[in-house]
Amino acid sequence: MASVSVSLEEVMVYTAAREIADGSAVFVGTGLPMLAAYLAKATHAPEASLLFESGILDPQPTHLALGVGDFRLMHAATSIRGLHYVLGLLQRGVIDVGFLGAAEVDAYGNINTTVIGGDYHHPGKRLPGSGGANDIASSARSTVIMCPHRPERLVERVQYVTSPGFLGGGDERERAGLVGGGPRMIITDLAVFRFRPDTRRAFVSSIHPGVDPEAVIEGAGFAVDLPDEVEQTPTPDASAVALLREMDPAGVYLKRPQG
């Protein structure tokens, strides 16, 4: 590793940024995906277009936004419209990659952001709901899911499918009539999962530097498919890390590495 100490969250953001191709259209939400998108634009993908559900198209923010509704995100946008307009563009098929967070994500990339515990009508805990996530999961050409690596977050089957991944696996997603391509990967703070082309079940495609493979298995609530040969997730170089810390100097989204 380079002389600079890198946090696992910084590895997550860097990994997400690498999924953004130059010239592509990206649907971005609050938090780590926002930093990933800025990093991509500042480095290898200056011509990527960023769309936000608040109705903002391709801004050039100079201050970090607390959310997609923050006025800081409107600075130097190419266009500012409404929610229905940008989500309509998404349904139209313009989005190459959409980013999704998850309270729960399962081995087939289905996401729950609606209820935890109890049942739908009598939940133990009520979460915010779909927002634009179901729309992104349904219509983006591909999605990238970002989620902390904890047994209660990475589950065998989500309690409630707010946003569809590959549903029960195989061709279930296509049979449901969904036209978007579905999840490309799940990025956690320990590893990257991709999906088997036949079963559509997640397998570990890389493990972050310094992470014990046992922790990847123990940290998931589903049976982890860990191939014998697994790559190490690429680490951001010093300049990428410096950029990230410049964008989020107060650590709003990125915790600083310990020590």
Binding site: D70, H84, Q91, G132, D135, S138, S139, A250
Partner: protein, 307 residues
């Protein structure tokens, strides 16, 4: 005839039992003075059809003003869950029905162009349409295009009894201008059976006609309009004032506990909007003024300057 009225007269358009929808997105654009006036008058039994107006939803939920919520997402961006909203759902005291943002916005859009239903490609395969036990959650129909192979979901159009919006400025004919990202205001306003608007200022029509591209809700759709300065506080208005993050933190802290939240509500509704602004004070309101170049306040404590 002028549509101008007072905030109190305007809010009186909303009667117990009605379905309502509010403008707003995250910490912006929300007609909070109207929301506080509804709480002050004890209007209840409301059906909220809400997409992005987390502030209206959470405050009305915490005030016990809601019977039912038709929603796509309520959260306080950067500050976590809407605790009053979560509490009433977990207790089962308010009925609810979940959509995605685009699905619910499309129901408004369909109503706004006089169609009985919307067609969307969202929701397919998800539990928003129905549970694994075959239970149907939303009125819908999966439908194959008569012109091809594509499958879509049909959803009924929705027209709230009253749509409430807050704009940057308007005139006495009810024309309303909004600057910045406009959330779902255009679709909501076209869908509403009645549309009422508060605005930061009412100006002469000739001034609106200088910049008609900002007039996103034409007066022909609007029944009543009231001048309510800082009517979105503690949410912000792009280029006019920032969201009041200190107030947001106080609200979120109070909302963790029902007793504290009741105290908060009593405090912010006492004496109506003028008394509310007086208690906030000039110093605090002036501190929310934006930088004229950026359109927002630059000295927020979370930093984030990116040279």
């Amino acid at each position: 005839m002028s549509k101008v009225c007072s905030l109190e007269e305007l809010a009186a358009e909303i009667q117990p039992g009605m379905s309502v929808s509010f403008g707003g997105f995250a910490h912006s654009l929300t007609p909070m003075a109207v929301v506080r006036e509804l709480v002050r008058r004890g209007v209840d039994n409301l059906v909220l059809i809400g997409i992005a107006e987390a502030w209206a939803a959470d405050m009305l939920a915490g005030a016990g003003a809601l019977r039912r919520m038709v929603l796509s997402n309520f959260m306080f961006e950067g500050f976590g869950l809407c605790r009053n909203f979560s509490r009433v759902v977990e207790r089962g005291t308010v009925e609810f029905e979940d959509y995605s943002h685009f699905a619910l916005a499309s129901r408004f859009a369909a109503a706004g162009v006089g169609l009985p239903f919307a067609a969307v490609r969202s929701l397919l395969g998800s539990d928003l349409l129905g549970g694994s036990n075959g239970e149907q959650r939303l009125a819908h129909q999966e439908f194959q295009s008569p012109f091809g192979e594509e499958r879509v979901v049909l959803l009924p159009a929705v027209s709230p009894d009253v749509v409430v919006i807050h704009g940057h400025r308007g005139d006495d004919d009810g024309n309303v201008q909004v600057e910045g990202a406009t959330s779902v205001i255009e679709e909501q306003a076209r869908a509403g059976k009645t549309v009422i608007a508060t605005v930061e200022e009412i100006v002469d029509s000739s001034r609106l006609r200088e910049s008609p591209h900002f007039t996103i809700v034409p007066g022909m759709l609007v029944s009543r309009i009231a001048a309510v300065p800082y009517g979105a506080h503690p949410t912000g208005m792009y280029r006019l004032y920032d969201a009041d993050y200190a107030h947001i933190r106080e609200y979120v802290a109070a909302s963790r506990d029902e007793g504290r939240f009741a105290d908060y509500l009593a405090q912010v509704t006492a004496g109506g909007h003028s008394a509310y602004l007086e208690r906030l004070g000039v110093r605090r309101l002036l501190a929310l003024r934006p930088d004229p170049h950026f359109g927002y306040h630059l000295e927020r404590e979370d930093g984030g300057w990116r040279a």
